[in-house]
Symmetry: C2
């Protein structure tokens, strides 16, 4: 082994200390050895193309150059995927495999202008087009004769879809729809790829025909000339400007001025406009919920990947970094030996496992409910909707906090883009807002919980994920506190039920004082969103614990031990975070709390020797991690210096600004 490839001695030591088989854990996380193998093959296949290699790191480029690089890379990546599709005949699976994991973000670190073509444009055509429309448009889209995106959000309208202003007015004379943006706030705003990349777009607009508004419908709209890429007359399109992150996504705006499209361009699988302008209603509008829920379910899994990245970086760095001298005659310890550092990191490792198992569980439920839906059974849709809302909100918020905590745990070096932590935060925090703003989503779940509470009060049986409410509703008095994992989880259910109950009481009290239900709801909404969050915590804690019992059944004793230490850590951590809730709604005592503190501190000690092994097991290749602080070899300082030297500013010993400004300024001549 040469000097250049040597692994940092501290990391070597850490890996020797690990008490379990790292490969076994990797296989466990992937879902079996064959899945690990498949993932690794896929990663190697993509990475050997070298698309991810940047001569000058993109953080040094101008905004415009960043976009141009993103287009180049996206084209090369999707060309590669298309080749596989042809070779392996895998259809959409190949896209999901690359875009769903961390692989896509490794290559297109700051987002891709082509993603929505595959993730929204094609799926919407398939989901909302008639068979004829699908045959024509999906073919053209798959063939890349056209590049599309999906435009819903407007400059003045986000979450509240009914409030969209863009109009599509049917003209029976020409059998066309006339698209208009009646105001500035009606401009489409945000769609990825819309600015300069897509030449087609699905536009959500208020449908008017025969003088009547029929609400929001989807239309296929050509934006740019297929040959020259020039925007068509009546189309105003451009980019919305620089953002906190994801500057490769080419988010755009779009306005219409009497822009006409053929009648056939309305997606008519559900509702139709006939040639004479007659509107024919949709059989069920609930069917369109599917895509939204799908994206939220997938997001929970994405959050795992981001947190896994961040905690791998911060843990390896903490094993390499030494600081201070608590004992006079001993060397500076690794910062990973400070309990405050362990407190910041180990919960991140446990969070990845908790989210992974919750995401898998939600995914299964989603598939079951979708199958039921197709058989015409809508019963479990509201439950799935409520779950996907709160899990999306809590997982994105927790992930953002985890990533920031990891970044701050790396001190100043975490602030460097070379750590890859700021970019990771940019992705994760965006997810707190898109696909439903988190507070709005928590309140959606709260509506479901309030209904469940009222059903419990009426003596009805509840759906599985809220059945704890009726149990607790029935036996109001708190049982003696049980200071175990199961006891804590039950405690969290008691907290959730208690908060829902209190919220309902407060709403009713305010109604009795003369408020409308809507105003009483609003006045209580801080408590309602907290109740919703508590419900979600109870779900995640119990799912993590229950699913781990099933999944880890056949694991080796060494691995099983560590896996359940993480479960314990996660549950005890959250108990300590929510000690106020537990004190209010359960019979936990001060002595129990002090025991929990001690338990927590002991768990940190137990997990300490396995910390690096645990993040190694996430098996994130250096090219995907893309971090000077987090590489497998731990050569942190060499890599930081190597990254610094890539800055174009370092290519010249003297920058021209010295002669232009600094010297004249110093000489009083500026």
């Amino acid at each position: 082994m040469t000097e250049q490839t040597k692994v940092n001695a501290d990391l070597q030591q850490e890996r020797k200390k690990c008490t379990f088989n790292i490969t076994e854990l990797t296989n466990f996380i992937d879902g079996g050895p064959h899945m690990t193998e498949e993932r690794r093959k896929r990663e190697e296949k993509v990475l050997k193309e070298g698309i991810h290699i940047e001569e000058v790191p993109s953080e040094y480029l101008s905004h415009k150059e960043k976009y141009e690089l993103a287009v180049k890379k996206a084209c090369m990546l999707f060309k590669l995927i298309r080749r596989w599709q042809e070779e392996e005949n895998t259809g959409m699976e190949s896209f999901r495999a690359v875009l769903g994991g961390s692989l896509g973000s490794a290559i297109l670190q700051d987002g891709s202008p082509l993603t929505l073509h595959y993730v929204m444009f094609i799926p919407t055509l398939m989901g909302q087009g008639t068979v004829e429309q699908q045959a024509y448009w999906v073919g053209r889209a798959f063939n890349l004769d056209i590049i599309g995106t999906y435009a819903q959000t407007e400059l003045g309208h986000g979450t509240f879809v009914r409030g969209l202003e863009t109009t599509a007015t049917y003209d029976p004379k020409t059998k066309e729809f006339i698209l208009n943006s009646p105001t500035l706030t009606a401009y489409k705003w945000w769609p990825g790829g819309l600015a300069h990349t897509a030449n087609y777009c699905i536009v959500m607009a208020q449908l008017y025909t025969n003088g009547q508004c029929h609400g929001i419908h989807a239309f296929i709209v050509q934006l740019r000339d297929e040959e020259t890429h020039m925007p068509l007359p009546g189309i105003k399109v451009g980019e919305i400007g620089a953002k906190l992150g994801m500057n490769g996504t080419n988010n755009g705006f779009l306005g219409f001025e009497n822009f006409r499209i053929p009648r056939d361009n309305m997606l008519m699988k559900n509702a139709k406009v006939l040639e004479d302008g007659t509107y024919v209603n949709s059989p069920s509008s609930k069917l369109t919920y599917g895509t939204m829920m799908f994206v939220r379910v997938v997001l929970v899994n994405d959050m795992c990947n981001y947190v896994a990245k961040a905690v791998t970086i911060a843990t390896r760095y903490s094993a390499v970094r030494h600081q201070s001298q608590p004992k006079p005659d001993e060397p500076e310890p690794q910062i990973l030996d400070y309990v405050t550092q362990q407190h910041k990191l180990f919960i991140g490792i446990a969070t990845v496992h908790a989210f992974k198992l919750s995401a898998d569980w939600l995914w299964n439920m989603y598939n079951n409910v979708t199958a039921e839906l197709e058989a015409g059974d809508l019963d479990r849709l509201p439950e799935l909707h409520a779950l996907s809302c709160c899990l999306k909100a809590v997982s994105t918020a927790d992930a953002a906090e985890s990533v920031e905590r990891c970044r701050l745990a790396c001190g100043g070096h975490g602030y460097m883009l070379a750590s890859n932590l700021p970019l990771t935060y940019g992705h994760v925090t965006a997810a707190c807002t898109y696909e439903g703003e988190n507070t709005v989503l928590l309140l959606q779940t709260a509506r479901y919980l309030v209904k469940a509470w009222q059903q419990a009060a009426g003596g009805n049986t509840l759906t599985p994920t809220v059945s704890y409410i009726s149990k607790i509703y029935a036996g109001r008095r708190s049982p003696p506190w049980d200071n175990t994992i199961e006891g804590i989880i039950e405690g969290f259910q008691r907290v959730a039920a208690g908060k829902i109950g209190l919220s309902v009481t407060n709403i009713e009290k305010r109604q009795k004082e003369g408020m409308s239900y809507e105003d009483a709801w609003n006045m209580t909404s801080v408590q309602l969103s907290q109740a919703s969050e508590s419900h979600c915590r109870a779900i995640i804690l119990s799912t993590y614990n229950e699913e781990m019992k099933i999944q880890a059944a056949s694991a080796s004793p060494e691995l099983k031990k560590v896996l359940f230490q993480l479960v314990d850590l996660y549950v005890v951590y959250w108990a300590l975070q929510r000690v106020g809730d537990l004190l209010r709604f359960t019979s936990i005592s001060e002595r129990d709390i002090e025991q929990l503190h001690r338990w927590y501190e002991d768990l940190l000690v137990q997990l300490r020797p396995n910390a690096v092994g645990l993040v190694d097991a996430f098996d994130i290749k250096d090219e995907i991690l893309h971090s000077a602080l987090g590489a497998y070899d731990g050569r942190v300082y060499e890599r930081l210096m190597a990254e610094a030297l890539k800055s174009p500013l370092n290519a010249e010993p003297v920058n021209r600004s010295f002669h232009m400004y600094l010297k004249p300024f110093m000489q009083g001549k500026l």
Copy 2:
């Protein structure tokens, strides 16, 4: 009034509703009408120069261009300040006035490469140089014959100053110091302006003379040729690369290879090396604490300014933005009417007031203690040190959370750089790490608190800010809960004392189990840092309340009412945030908590009509706010579109990447 300058109707309405005189509040915050007038004059004077105006907003530039623009602007700004100094003979005051407020960050939005010359280089020369050294170097620095910075942190060494590796070895033969960076981790890393701007630098290095190490001392080192700006032989200097924010600061690295400087270049006010290499000790090393504490004290005030900016932007936007339709036949309400939104914003407004009064109080204490220091009295130094540590940690962490909460409260538009919220976060979150990492600082305060506890146990009287500990130590039993502001504040003191006491108990328990004190401390450090945070909360809450009583004594009844609503909101908010602590360490009951919830919700209702007035009173000019969402006129959507159109990508209808990559890709020819 023309269409172009019209104020948004919602904002007009909000301003009409305001129940107090906005100017009175502005004067109150500034410290009197003359102070407001002076600030405004200063702002106008700087802004009329137009240095802040950017043809292409800097977010669209490349990293290198951003630096060049920052040098240009910094030179122009400091030239202006220098002119004032000459005109008005104000010395350093002019720098502080511009750099201390929001004004500097309005012009140099992403940091300045010249700041450390004024903030660290010159003050260190003044503080640590002999009279002769001051006469020579301060003159050259003020004259801008040289531009300096201050290099302490190294690639492998931050908080732990004793661990620095750079060496300065005295050679009595040539009467020179030889500077070396013995390892890669010894490279200086981070100093602002070091990369390509400064030609001189104060370097902190381990002093060796006559074969003995005497620890860290300061040396003046020339880095670059004064004429050509070329790095001198033996000097390796460059920039450290792109960061999350502050990309205009030109942070650099610096390595030495047998670089020689004259003996006179050691700053010798305190310690000396004689010509023959004899080391003469410093009379008191405590004196150097001064600068560090000064910066931390100033930081608390900076945090006010950033939070005030963020909450002004988010509040005005929330008054303009409408969303959803809770009541079927009514229009979409302003999002400011949602109680969950008020919950996110109003605490931010109160935080500005709480921090402002705490910062002023700390500033007075700092001045008193510094005066005592100069008279040789070091008694109150540890108390001030403990306070400055925890207040820096808590204020920066709270400010970062506040700014992010404001950003997320603006939904997707908050993610746009045009909102100015991401850049503001970049500044604030950096402060969580620099000038002492927050966890390290909390643990420094914890050391002081543990000592205080032990003194209380020994029956000693304690210094004022920890005197509550002896009071509570004496009467261990909790008095009946008093659900008032004063009662809550006392509750927080009880929490802090309780946590300190528990930490001490746990340390002692672990020592009895055989652990060393250092290990027992480490094992208890999560609890210790939380105790320290609780202490700081108690300080802020009581300072805010007590100082407001004094300061607001002569305010009009209308203003006084609102000011104390904010005090109430702040105290009740934190009581609800820390309900678990209160339940553990006081006799608060579930009924009290429910009353606090109701009280909190009522306060939101009371403050709602004054929300816009309260942020208007921060009186932050549009040019300083620099936000499409937050401008005084509330023309949010027009400004967002105007900002978008400044993107260079929008200058051409078709980007060249279409012809280079996209079209060939679509045609299968890439």
